[in-house]
Symmetry: C2
Subunit: 134 residues, 2 copies
DNA sequence: CATGGTGTACTATTTAGATAGTATACCATG
DNA sequence: CATGGTATACTATCTAAATAGTACACCATG
């Protein structure tokens, strides 16, 4: 479980953490029963304040994604994978919708918009390929 | 020149204003020499504080998009359209890249990602059609 | 049973964004 | 030349996000 925080991502740090944990569970990288990094450990690794991590974990517990194991840490619940897969689609769709809406309001035609999207998808698959092959 | 502000857009209000003015110029809705709505007028229309509008306009002047006409208001410069068309692509690409990158990190395959994008593009063109026809 | 690692709670401080209110300098208009 | 609309500057206040530091309750481990 590796957290990568981008301070000027638009999203608050605690929200980035929430999303990344959900995504890790959705993708199977984190499985039910597994422990999430401790508040202090995650904070150190992400160069972020422990309170910020604690806030993210508090939200994840409130949503039923994590449960507390006394004296041990926070574990992924049994229901989390199904829930997180739904969340993943929902969260990504929402951000995508906002961006595409702004693009439409900017006066771009649908064709120009599709070109933009294609360009970014190509760039993305290229960097993905490099990551996989090296 | 109509400003539509979404308080929970992720972007700060002053930034939304900056972008919308640039987009209006890029699309030709605002042309060189034309006056932008006054700070007070824009603030009232968008239900926002005049200082927030003033901050956005200050940035637009610093970028050479608007120039001050003493005692009259702020006018679009001659160089603005070319500049704003470049900016439009740049600003949209940046946001789009962030979203697609997050989607890739979430474990979605490229095929699933493309499906998501297609779905949102379809929803978008549908609402566009409604806007145009009604 | 003491140690050390868990999460949690609490208060205080800092920063950015936004609001509120006031004051000022400018000038087109009548 | 007075009026009113323009941008601008300034201080103060408010909120959310993030940081900082401290303290506490819990319990697995040795």
């Amino acid at each position: 479980m590796l957290l990568t925080i981008d301070p000027n991502n638009g999203l608050p740090i605690y929200d980035q953490i929430v999303r990344q944990v959900k995504f890790a569970i959705a993708s199977g990288a984190l499985r039910p029963g597994e422990l999430v990094p401790s508040v202090r450990e995650a904070a150190k690794q992400a160069a972020v304040n422990p309170n910020t991590v604690a806030r993210a974990y508090r939200e994840l517990q409130a949503e039923g994604v994590l449960r507390r194991v006394r004296g041990t840490g926070l574990a992924v619940t049994e229901d989390a994978p199904a829930y997180c897969r739904k969340e993943r689609v929902k969260l990504l769709e929402e951000r995508l919708r906002q961006v595409l809406e702004e693009a439409a309001q900017s006066g771009l035609s649908e064709a120009e918009l599709r070109q933009l999207v294609e360009k970014q998808l190509r760039l993305l698959s290229r960097s993905r390929g490099r990551r996989g092959s090296s």
